[in-house]
Each structure stands twice: as structure tokens, then as C-alpha cells.
Amino acid sequence: MTRIGFTADLHVDEYGSRRDPATGLNARLVDYLETVRFVSTQALARGCDALVIAGDFTERRHPAPWLVGTIQDALEECPPELIIVRGNHDGEIAGASIVTVMGYGLNTRGWQNAFARPGVTWVKRTAIAAIPYLDRHWLRTQPGFEDVPESQLFAALAEQYMAIARGLYAEAYAKHPDPDGVVLVCHQTLAGAHLSASQQAFLGDQQLVIDAADLGAIGFEGIVAGHLHRHQVLSTDPPILYTGSVERVDFGEQDEVKGFVIAEVGPGRFEWEFVETPARRYVTLTGTDPIPPTVNDAIVRGVDLDPAVDLIALREDLGRAGAFEVAELRHRPGDDDVAGGMSESLSAEEALVAYFADDPEADALIERGRAILAEVGS
């Protein structure tokens, strides 16, 4: 039996403008580092043989060396094996990324546990098959794929992705015909998964989606994925799950529970528990909400506040109530703010009328405009 901690989407970086007075660093960066340290030390304290990080170490794609160093420091006290997999935020330059850089500093197995490409590593007799984040850019440059539609490109990627997953499973069995288990770790969107609200806005449908059921049918004892910040379970047999991010990234994630996963892996067995992290809270106030006690130490915003609410006084009150940071405060838009003006929702003729509404020669201009529209439309 092997005990393994799984986490992903650390996104350690600077957010907001508050400074930590003790270190001079960005206060949210300090938050993130503390949470990563919590994950690492908890995995060790709870008897894990390894900690696997399934991608997205920082928010920026090419972190400066000092940031890489602070993340390494936060992971210093960790289980005997640290296994890291490249995510979409871990950008590569000339084949190197934060994962390859950190790989040379990893304990015991070093670079063998750092995955910027698919591969298999071992924790005792349990195989960890890792597939880093896959995007379409490389394949798009290959002969025959330069101008195929996105849907065809994604279909080809998905097919090859499955071939890799099956190949890694076969590789594990080729090395140890009777392993304690084979676990797939990846950083990808799996079909059936839910994006957080903010990720939905950025990622939308423009990404590769892998069929979780197909992966599940391969025979892995468990599949653990990074990429989506919301912790979720896609399947129970075998377990297919997202650990979710360890900290809340923005208000889109304010209601999500954050944490990491510890699993006991054995032949045909993957029993897991979710360990909650002390992620900083986000609180949204609306209307005439009174200030709740939960704003203490939380990042707070006020949206659609009643026009009668004094924003300056509210900001001061929030400060007195112990808010960690006040992100934004704004009133509910009035009717005048949404109606009228030019917008894409208007037809061409409506836009024409709206545009010349205040012109003294509106009638003649609109008439001429209608004629042009008719000419263009015919």
C-alpha cells in the first residue's frame, strides 16, 4: 500500500496591491506560499510517501528565479518523493520550464520526477503515469494540420492523448507486471468536468477536452487531474477527480472549498480523502447587506450595492471590520446606464436612428442611410 498526496494549481503569485509588512512581499503571495507550505507539511505529517503536484505552479508563464526559489522553499519540508507535472501556466522557453528547473532541485530522484513530457515514475511499487498539459500549438505546426478546422485538430489530439495514456499504462506493466497500482496524473480538461466561473470566461470551449470515461476504462487505479480549480469527482469507479486549486484565485471561486487529496493506493484500490486548506475567504456584498463578521481577514467586494450606500464610508467600515483587502465597491447600475446608446443588439436601422437622433438634419440623414442600407442589402 502506498500513500500519496495529490495537489495542483498552486498559482503562487502576486495578486492585489496589499503588502505584507513583515516581508515586504505582496500579501497574497505570502498567503499562497503559506498554503503551499501547509500542503507540503501536511502531506508529510500524514504519512505520505510522495506528494504529486499536477501543474500550474505560478500564474505567470515564465516566473522569475526568485519566485521559483520561494516556491521551492515552501516545498522544502515534504514527503520523501516530490513529483511535479507541467501545467498550462508553466510556460516553456527552449524546452525548459519551471518544472524542468525545479526538477534538478528535487529530492532523491531529481529530474526523473519532473514531467514536462509524458512518463512514468515509481513510488515504492506504485506507478505514477504523468501527462503534462497538452495544447494544440505543436500539432498545429505539423504538415497537414496547418489549416484543418479546430474540431478536427482537437479530435486528433484527443485520439493521440488516449494512445499516450494507454502507452504509459502499458509501460508501467512492462516494468513491474504486478504493481501495487498505476495512477494517472494529468493537467487537462476532462469531459463532464465543471470549470469555475472565471475559468469558464477565459477558457470557454476553446480547449482540448479528454473523455474521462475512456481514460477510466484503461485500468488505472485512479486518475487525478489538475487544471480546473473546482475540486470535483467525475467518477467513482475508478476514481477520477480534480484536486482543485489550493487557494481561491478570485471571486468566481468564493464559494468553492479548497484543499488537496491524500490517497491510499493498492492493487485495484484508490481510497482518498480531501484535506481542506486554510484558503483565504472571498466575500461579496450586494444591495444593502450589513457587513457580516466573515469579512474579517477576507477579500471583500461590493457589487450592485444600493445607490444609497456611501461607498467611502463602507470602505472605512470594512477596514475597521478587519477586511484583508477591499477589491471593489460599486453601486447597482441605474436604468440609464443600460438602456440607450449604440450596441451590438441594435439592428442596422435602429443604430442609424440612434446615431443621428440629436442631429438637426436627422430626418434627411436617416432617409439617406436607409437608402444606402437597402442598396447594400439587395
Partner: protein
């Protein structure tokens, strides 16, 4: 927590593959009675014709919560009837292995209030037969939007094209999967069971085949060789021999003797020597004249207090041949104070230099 979908554990562990004894009927549906499942499986018994593919049943559970986003109700449906949302249908389509062949607008686009869309999809049945279906949707706001508020109309226009495409896709999925437009809620509460064939990863031949595909597939998707280099042990390359046999200080092309610049010197300069050198340079460049002022002396006293008399005099003596602190000139004091202002480790550098100078002096004495 979202509702979960599950995969039946029909794929056995690779270490426990039974020997193949020829084509056989596989009874799968005993565990999936129609009373408890919505079966999207065309036959009761499945015939497995080779050992390389195994049947697999995927179960998809839709959320029947109003907030779940998997079902919806509208006024055209019967009471307590609900329809799967586009998201739920897309999940069923994904699990059933439905692929989209074509999706295009059919109207000429001249009337901005009208959009007609057509989608063509395909699904491979467990028997191997391919089923192809299509769905189309025409939305005409000229007819549909009579009596709507301007806000509702604006919203409808904004999503007109996307709505037409989604509805066409939904129709295509429903036709291929033989799904009704709406169901009683109790029916939708039952999980959907969908059959498909998957590679038998427990079989050694299948494993071997995929092992062979691993490297090419990785290279195709992640690029060639980079990773292979990463995953090799680093090579230790010995220092190359000097291929320039010319003596130092001689131009290799002309044979002329040349004076090397300071930075080309192979001699090692110690931190103490650097410090002493810098003190002399700064003294020479200082505009101050005469003996040190009282203000300078007070500042020096404060600055050098922690270093000890011996260390202070070792450096002052070696750099400027001073016999007592009181002999210091204004330019020398200016150099010390200016360097201290720029170097936060000034005291350490001074102590290091004093230590080196003391050792050197002792060495000279020994010699």
C-alpha cells in the same frame, strides 16, 4: 458537489487476463435493469468477437435539482415534464462517442432576424454499424418576437446564432440516441447507461501495441527529442585542453608582445586586496584637502567602533602608512565614509581586509 458519472469496472487488471476461447456472448445488462436505468443500449446480449476489445458501460447521472443545470422546464412541456439541457445532452453525446461531422448556417444571412442552422453527427454502434443523423433549427424573430419587450428582443438577438446552433445540435443528439423531447422528472432521475467498446488493456498484445505507440505519439504531441534529452542522465564533459599554445602576452597572429588588460590577468585578487585598492582609488578621486574635520572624525569613530583598534590600524597603516588614527587626512576620511555609505557590508569588508593584511604581514615577518 456535482453529480457523478461512473464507469463500470469491466476492464480487468492487466495481471488477471483470462485466456481467449473464441467469440462469446457477454451478458451485461443484469446489473442495469430498466426499472433503475435509462438504457441507451440497443441489445440485451453483446457478442465479443476478439480479445482485444471489451464492452464497457458508462453510467451518467443527471442532476434533477433546479440549480444543477442538467434539466429544464418550459411552458410548452407537460406538467412535471423536463428536458435535458444542452450541457446534459453534450455529456450523453460525449459518452456515447458521438462525433460532429458538420455544423453550418443554412440561411443567406440577409435578414438579421432569421437564422437557420444544421448539424450532422455520427455514432458507431456496438455492432460496428455507423449511425448518422442530423438536426436543424430555424429561428425567425420576425414571427417569434411579436409582443416581446425591447430588452428581451435585444437579448434574443445577441444569442440568436448560438441558440440556433445549440438547438440544432440538441435535436441531432436526440434523434441519434432516440431520446424524447421531454421526460417526467422521475425518468430523468434514473441514470443513463451507455454501451461502448474499449481496448482491452489487460491483454498483453494490446499493451505491446500501445507501448509501441507511446514514443511516436509523445513526439507528435509534445515535440521530438527535447524530452528525451531531459530524461537522460546528464553527460559529464571534461574541460577541453587549451588549443592556443602561444605564450601569454603574445599576439597569436602577429607574434608581437602585447600588454594584457587588468581583467585578463589570471592572478586571483582577494577581497581584501580589492578593498584596499578601492580605498586608495576613492582617496585619489576625493576633492577634500587638509586634515580630517572634527565632523569626519566623529563619523569615523562611530563607523569603525565595532572593529577594534588593531583592525582599524592594520588597514590604515597598510593603505596609507598611518601611525595613528589622528593622522588621517580629509580625503582619506572622505573615501572611508563614502564607501561605507554605498556598501552595507562595509564593516565586514574592512575586517576581512584587516585579517588578510595581518596574515600577509605575519608571513613577511616569518620569511
Amino acid at each position: 458537489m456535482p453529480k457523478e458519472s461512473t464507469t463500470t469496472a469491466l476492464a480487468t487488471r492487466a495481471s488477471a487476463v483470462p485466456e481467449w476461447a473464441g467469440p462469446k456472448e457477454v451478458e451485461l445488462l443484469g446489473s442495469f435493469p430498466e426499472s433503475k436505468y435509462n438504457l441507451l443500449v440497443p441489445t440485451v446480449a453483446i457478442r465479443q468477437i476478439n480479445p482485444y476489445l471489451v464492452p464497457d458501460i458508462e453510467v451518467v447521472q443527471l442532476s434533477t435539482d433546479a440549480e444543477g443545470g442538467d434539466i429544464y422546464h418550459d411552458s410548452q412541456m407537460k406538467d412535471n415534464h423536463f428536458a435535458p439541457t444542452a450541457r446534459a445532452l453534450a455529456r450523453l453525446a460525449s459518452v456515447a462517442g458521438i462525433t460532429q461531422l458538420d455544423s453550418r448556417r443554412m440561411d443567406d444571412g440577409k435578414d438579421p432576424e432569421i437564422v437557420e442552422w444544421r448539424v450532422e453527427i455520427e455514432m458507431t454502434l456496438p455492432s460496428g454499424r455507423v449511425v448518422r443523423g442530423f438536426g436543424s433549427k430555424r429561428i425567425d424573430l420576425n414571427q417569434l418576437a411579436k409582443g416581446w419587450t425591447p430588452q428581451r428582443l435585444a437579448k434574443a438577438r445577441e444569442h440568436l446564432v448560438a441558440n440556433a446552433e445549440t438547438k440544432a445540435f440538441n435535436r441531432a443528439i436526440r434523434s441519434v440516441l432516440s431520446l424524447h423531447g421531454s421526460f417526467p422528472k422521475s425518468q430523468l432521475a434514473k441514470p443513463f447507461a451507455i454501451l461502448r467498446w474499449v481496448p482491452n488493456m489487460a491483454h498483453p498484445d494490446v499493451q505491446k501495441a500501445y507501448l509501441g505507440q507511446l514514443a511516436p505519439a509523445s513526439a507528435r504531441l509534445f515535440g521530438p527529442t527535447n524530452g528525451d534529452v531531459e530524461r537522460q542522465e546528464p553527460l559529464l564533459i571534461e574541460q577541453a585542453p587549451d588549443d592556443d599554445a602561444a605564450p601569454e602576452g603574445v599576439d597569436t597572429e602577429t607574434g608581437e608582445r602585447v600588454e594584457e588588460p587588468d581583467w585578463a590577468s589570471t592572478q586571483t585578487v582577494t577581497p581584501g586586496e580589492q578593498f584596499v585598492h578601492k580605498l586608495r582609488e576613492w582617496t585619489e578621486s576625493s576633492p577634500a584637502k587638509g586634515t580630517a574635520t572634527q565632523k569626519q572624525r566623529d563619523a569615523l569613530k562611530e563607523l569603525l567602533r565595532g572593529l577594534g583598534q588593531a583592525n582599524v590600524m592594520t588597514v590604515l597603516g597598510a593603505v596609507w602608512d598611518l601611525k595613528a588614527p589622528g593622522d588621517i587626512s580629509s580625503a582619506q576620511a572622505d573615501a572611508i565614509l563614502s564607501m561605507a555609505a554605498e556598501d552595507e557590508h562595509f564593516a565586514t569588508s574592512w575586517a576581512t581586509a584587516a585579517g588578510e593584511l595581518a596574515v600577509a604581514t605575519a608571513g613577511e615577518g616569518d620569511a
